[in-house]
Amino acid sequence: MRTIVRVTERVQETPSTVTLRFPYPPSAAPGQFVMVWIPGDDEIPMSLSYTQGVSKGITVKVMGETSRHVQAIEPGASLGIRGPYGNHFDVRARRVLVVGGGSGAAVLAPAAAEARTFGAELVVALGAIRADELLFRERFRSLGARVRVATDDGSEGHAGYVTAVAEDELARHRFDAVWTCGPEVMMRKVLAAAEAHGVPLFGSMERHMKCALGMCDACAFGSYHVCSDGPVFPADRLKATADFGRFHRDPSGRRVPF
């Protein structure tokens, strides 16, 4: 069963990223995702970037044909939504280092927002290819987070990978948790750093998804399914999974290297 929702709002977050808001009453926790059906086109997994209240949101980065179509959607258009699916971040942490690369910030922002309601202290390490692609920087700031940025082209903040910023923060401060989402190579590095400093890490994973019901095996990730055992995995599960950062599966189920 899908619920057909009408898009109420469209926000161009960055040149390549758009947020769509729509009324969707089921309760959701940050980290959870929905399956978004663009009628006449594909259905793709999207983290909820707004989880509180009835007006939920997704924040979509252009990756290919379907995400381009999603981006082109205007208020008034219909989407089919099912979910939310999957597990979520434990938002009752006290001092959290949030490490986001690219569209990874989409799932981290609502987690940060909910953590704030529990009084968490937040440091956000945000990476993007260019300054104008830094997603949700203002949103993190307005939550009272200390935000540090990294850009591939050096147009703002640290020139290079956001992992360096994360390593620096972990070296200087004590954290109770690291939350991360982004390219798996990035997450591998953040994991290594968090481990070196003894900080529990939770990473949000992506795999090709079809059923989102823990059945079809499309999202197999070692002995886990990202749709039902994830998308948020603790460090030990990530480390125990040989495919982490190395292999994913294409829609036919073939194991392909990143």
Binding site: M215, C216, G222, S223, S252
Partner: protein
Amino acid sequence: MADLSVRLAGLVLRNPFLLASGIWGESGDSLSGAWSAGAGGVITKSIGTAPRPGYPNPTVETYERWGLLNAMGLPNPGIDEYPREIEVARRAGAPVVGSVFAGDAAEFARLARRIAATGVVAVELNLSCPHAEGFGTEVGSEPEDVERIVRAVVAEVRLPVIAKITPNTSDPAGLAAAAEQGGAAAVSAINTLRALAIDVHLRRPVLSHGLGGLSGPAIKPVGLACVWQIFEAVSIPVVGIGGIRTGRDALEYVMAGARAVEIGTAVAFDGIGVFERLNRELSALLDEIGYARLEEAVGAAHTKL
């Protein structure tokens, strides 16, 4: 504690609950996960000659709490890549049944020979997928076709061959008898029922492929009828499939004539823990009814009519 082990076409299974084809079946880790979770054996996703991405999403649609429609479109990594997944599951100790689909008898035979070489304990032939052009139901709806395909496969492999029969037919028993005639060691039934979901607001079918297949509790009475009719028509063992979620569902299939059962949609609805619960429930139920061994119950309901 009743004995749940069953002998099926020369195999001995620790319990009758096989992971159905298409569920947790693309990766070796998932197959062995189902085995660790308590399955009596695992059946692979139906594998074809070449890798297939399957249909675009939406590929599934849940129907209230009692059914599930899918039109995956037989995605699979192809027979060249898939043996490594079987190997992973075999190393974990799982008895793996290799499921294959093909467009004609010769392709079935080729695929069966290749998958038989990977150490599977049996081969299941998907003669019954209701929504893949050129495959499944399209090659498995006529008794002559079923017999020819099974015969071609049996000639190629030494393993037990299980023919998976479609319910989208006027005569499931006739198809099963044809499979027996062709040399099948067992038949399994049922695959999904041809089905459709429409979204009235969008005025279109929900699944990208339009037509799909219905599984889950909704189809249990249909699966039971097929197994009942097949049991009366053949002397090879029958594997019951369709909507099994509880130990009682499973025992209904066994009493209708099944020696083993396959579990599909229940994994989506209840999680992989369903295997442990099914074992527990079936065992308790047999104790309550007074069976020491599950096998005593096979076909038990037939003596009464």
